[in-house]
Amino acid sequence: MRKLLFLLKKEFRQIRRNPFMARAIILVPIIQMLILVPAITFEVKRIDLAVTDNDRSPASRELMAKLSGSSFFRISATPGNYPEAEALLFSGEADMVLIIPDDFSEGLAGVNAPRLQVLADAVNPTTAQLAWSYFTSVVRDYNREVMISRGTAPAALPGIAVSPRFWYNPTLNYKHYMLPGVLVILITAIGLLMAGLNLVKEKETGTIEQINVTPVKKWELIASKVIPFFIIGLVDLALGLTVGWIAFDIPFEGSLLLFFACAAIFLVGVLGLALFFSTMASTQQQFLFIAFFFVMIFILMSGIFTPSESMPRWAQQFNYVNPVAYLMRINRMVMLKGSGFYDIARDMAALSVLAVTFITFAIMAYRKRA
């Protein structure tokens, strides 16, 4: 136990002496929060719509007015013909193109079925689909207005009005969603990278050999590496959370204690992983490559961008051993929905099992002698 204290003293001294690290510990969370959170959003703000109006009638102009009047669309161009319109899609100047045929108003008068042709840039299929559903809504509303103004009974045009309410995040603020995710990435990166690089550096310089030849026990050495970065990880989490609270006014509905408890368990697991990876590398660069590779996998699969429920079977099964997936879910549930202990008990248990497993791997893999 005494030995551990001496080791810890040394670790903290070294961290304090390293200006780079000291600055990184404070700045990285702040910068990540401030820059990343507003950027990573899937919210569709405004769709650039180009319209080719071959009808040029009051009806078509009314339709265009209704479209540009909606908050979703912005009429960005009015190309004169089909090829011009198409070119706008290719160049990316328009997200969507509406071609109003020359018999549109006739169609509305009942001569034949009124058509509209839409070309959508579907490289990003989600935004394309959302844009299309907004479009059809506007068109439908327009349709009803036109018919009713001509005297048709509303009953003949049944329309279901939908009023969606969004609980826990009424304005569908993406920041509220991304912030817990960015926090998770933050402590994963700091925990894993910093701790691992630190250990591998001792390997590289040879100071680890000097420690190996002393009576310091394996667990004492591992503890001396885990504890400092555990503390730093939690501090950074608190820092990130504070920045998020101040800058973005995110809600925190659930229990802070629960939140930090889960983060603590997660950190232990991540640090165990870091140690395990460090046994696979003899230089810092090697460690970085290995760690980066696996961290990428964990983060991408964790459901940070997209819900993990819509992933294929095998992906969801993978996530049983993905600590990031668990913490991501727990964070969001606790922060935004105020989920309590019983709600996340299963996730927390799974996370604990993973943490213990990773630390065990680390202890088994680390050898004091070759």
């Binding site: 569709v44 703000k45 405004r46 490289v123 990003n124 059809t136 279901i160 660069q285 997209t306 993978f318």
Partner: protein
Amino acid sequence: MKRFMAFVRKEFLHIFRDYRTLIILFGLPAMQILIFGYAVRTDLTNAGIAVLDNAHDEVSAEIIGKLEASEFFEIKFHLTSYDGIDEAFKQGKIKEVVIFPENFGARLTREGNATVSIIADGSEPNTASLVTGYTTAILNDYSSTLTRQLTSAIPVINPEVKMYFNPNLESHFMFVPGVITLILILVSALMTSVTIVREKEFGTMEVLLVSPLKPWQIIIGKVAPYFFLSLVNVIVILLMAWFVFGLPVRGSVALLIAECMLYILLGLAIGILVSSSVDKMENAIFISFLTLMLPSLLLSGFIFPIENMPKIYDYVSMILPPRWFVEIIRTVMIKGGGLAVIWKETLILVVMTLFFMALSARKFKVRLGEGTK
């Protein structure tokens, strides 16, 4: 020339001898393609929802049937009151609740106007939008069908949509260009800077400088392997995309490869610049990461569309090469655009490349001069 080739060969050996480098060089792109191709889905399937039917009439039953039948949804609960909703959301079991008021069917057929309430779990905004969007679509579809059934005399506008570039609405189309961008900058910039700095840190750079090799030969020799490896990487990624999910290169392959080579050169120039500014490998890694990797991943439009970000990001991302390159790749690969469409972006990249090359050439000369004093 022979000396030069021997030097280049040594560099290649360095790379291939270390399995960890190979993991990053080849494993990473393969892994990303697989994950982005198969695991990360931006659309929705089997989302759990709940239904609260206060109407209990034919109409609501029919609509609920449609929801049930849709592949987007899976009805987990048929609730009988508002009480269970909060609980179900908190446990994460459902994404939305669809509520039919009393007399729903009657209102709809008599007055032509009825309201359905949807409560969605807003803690996942993306899912919430999609879920409410799909639900609304199903409801709209139903009312349109109803209209057509009632009378054919009323003109109902029928908009048709043609989804360009991606008729099957696959999500990996937008990711593969991003993966290419990321891998290229990783290999060409990060690895180059690290390998050059490593020689500096271990003092072997001085040995090289004293050898008959000229400084430019040393630099070119160091980066040449990464140039080729990056190209190989691109080709591997393209082949994987083609075989794994049938993603074609719609535009000119030659143009695509040429643009990739340009981007690789840019990455190499940046890598050389970084290496001439730092002395320790860990710092090279740190800087490369922060200034190249993270922005490439998150601010380049790879995953998150730039137009959805606050305006200022739009301006800032203009100085980030990945932003332009993602645009180019997407246009050439997926839209099939030619040079005529992307000449502007290409020009910007060319200017950036020249700028960085000039800057690093100058900085390196100065540094080398200092080193050999």
